[in-house]
């Protein structure tokens, strides 16, 4: 059996989801750290943003990030579509939350919400900035851009909803990625679950505080 076959079985596809998911989790940590510079002043943030936007290594990883993101989305949506066809006659009475928490059953939905958020998010910051870098007058001042965008209540609410979807997606995602790699042994599974929950809360709360900080003028 070839590597291709090994990766294309149902378990193989889960391994793809897991590995790309873990890469996206690592990206979130970096993204969160860079953005948190807003609380240390405009200069600190802009230095970090400049590095992320221009460094050759980072820009190369950025290509990989998009590749993995697309793979994660395509594979996830295809798993969701296929799995929903495994039971043509539905149950009249469903177990619902009696046997599993809702977010574990809703990864496809949560992922789709995150994707919608991501399209808005990329079109507000990453897109215009890269466009200006390539065709315009150079890098944009992302700090000023954030300050401007996050005066709009609607945008802030969209960002908060995005953070909520991300939080629930991560609560299951962190644990699930470890389970798929077989790391959730009897000894470690509780720790992995707890670390996953803590990580999801910490990262998304930090992200959520960014638009709030601008909107409330905690940073200027």
């Amino acid at each position: 059996m070839s590597w291709k076959q090994a990766f294309s079985s149902s378990v193989g596809k889960k391994i793809q989801m897991s590995l790309t998911g873990i890469f996206l989790i690592l990206f979130l940590i970096v993204h969160c750290y860079i953005n948190a510079q807003i609380w240390f002043g405009e200069d600190a943030f802009l230095t970090a943003a400049h590095f992320m936007g221009t460094n050759v290594i980072i820009r190369t990883i950025e290509i990989g990030l998009f590749a993995f993101l697309i793979l994660h989305i395509v594979q996830g949506l295809s798993l969701w579509a296929k799995n929903s066809k495994r039971r043509n006659t539905r149950y009249a009475v469903k177990a619902g939350s009696q046997t599993s928490p809702w977010y574990r059953r809703s990864m496809g939905l949560l992922g789709t919400l995150i994707l919608l958020f991501l399209i808005i998010h990329l079109s507000k910051f990453w897109g215009p900035n890269r466009f200006a870098q390539t065709f315009g007058s150079g890098e944009l001042n992302l700090y000023e851009l954030m300050k401007e965008e996050f005066q709009n209540m609607v945008i802030v609410v969209i960002y908060l909803l995005g953070c909520i979807a991300l939080a629930w997606h991560l609560v299951h995602g962190v644990y699930s990625s470890m389970q798929t790699l077989g790391l959730t042994t009897h000894r470690y599974k509780t720790m992995i679950k707890n670390v996953g929950v803590a990580f999801s809360i910490i990262v998304t709360v930090i992200f959520a505080l960014m638009p709030i900080s601008f909107y409330m003028h905690w940073v200027n």
Binding site: M1, W3, Q5, A6, S9, S10, V11, G12, K13, K14, I15, L79, K82, N83, S84, K85, R86, R87, N88, T89, R90, Y91, A92, V93, K94, A95, G96, Q98, T99, S100, R104, R105, M107, H172, Y175, S176, Q179, T180, L181, G182, L183, T184, T185, H186, K189
Partner: protein, 258 residues
């Protein structure tokens, strides 16, 4: 607990065969003892139907002591009913009160076609076992205890995995209709023992291949299977299967598989 009697309304899935469309049929049962098992209640209903010259309800059962795994009923949204670590035959009527309505459905999964009413065809599981859930060499009679030293932890884990009775509740309960808990229990109980060790890499590959071929969904680590398993098979088995699979992928043991 005090003994009491009850009258119940049952909504039971009736389906002639796998090709016909099924529907719910409503029945009334009277004077059911709280000490009856769920299947005994069905026996009473069937006797009543036979006496009325109606067709009885087809349902699977064999041992009626919770070890054979035949009694597949999806009761009010729960595989084997609401009790923890219990098969349908061990669910007792003291769970219900007079006047309750109970909805009974067969296991629903495309890989488990309905044979009749509540009876489903679970041969897909047999074919998964045939793909690798065995030890190829004859290992003879049960040997003396401790003739082959096996670590206590491994022996316990293997024994816990071997408790799987192949009832299919995991598939029935899984929103994806995935058979991963079943397959992982079978992979685990053999791979942990020296007799099963030589074939562990081809086993996991072949069994997963067959599982996919049978049209079961893929595991998304939801955990409804673990919650519903009458034998308490843990998700740790799925983690172990994933390790076995990764091991087979990386160590090239998969070459002679499939």
């Amino acid at each position: 607990m005090e003994h009491y009697h009850m009258n119940l309304t049952l909504k039971v899935w009736k389906q002639k065969n796998k090709n016909e469309k099924g529907r719910f049929e409503t029945y009334q049962v009277k004077n059911i003892s709280s000490e009856m098992s769920f299947l005994e209640m069905f026996d009473v209903l069937n006797e009543q139907l036979v006496a009325e010259n109606k067709e009885p309800i087809a349902f699977d059962h064999d041992c009626r002591e919770g070890i054979c795994g035949m009694c597949s009923m999806y009761i009010n949204g729960r595989a084997h009913g609401p009790w923890h670590h219990t098969t349908t035959c061990q669910l007792h009527m003291r769970e219900y009160k007079d006047g309750d309505t109970i909805v009974v459905e067969p296991w629903r999964a495309n890989s488990f076609p309905v044979i009749k009413d509540l009876v489903v065809d679970r041969q897909a599981f047999d074919r998964i076992i045939q793909a690798g859930g065995y030890v190829s060499v004859n290992t003879g009679n049960a040997v003396d205890a401790n003739a082959i030293p096996i670590e206590k932890h491994d022996a316990d884990e293997s024994f816990a995995s071997a408790a799987c009775i192949g009832c299919g509740a995991c598939v029935a309960a899984c929103p994806n209709a995935s058979a991963m808990l079943f397959v992982s229990a079978k992979v685990s109980h053999l791979s942990l023992l020296p007799q099963g060790d030589p074939e562990r890499k081809t086993r996991v590959m072949n069994m997963i291949h067959q599982m996919d071929k049978e049209g079961f969904g893929s595991c998304t680590n939801i955990g409804a299977c673990e919650a519903e398993c009458p034998k308490g098979i843990s998700l740790e088995n799925i983690a172990r299967l994933n390790r076995e699979y990764l091991g087979a992928m990386f160590e090239g043991g998969s070459q002679n598989a499939i």
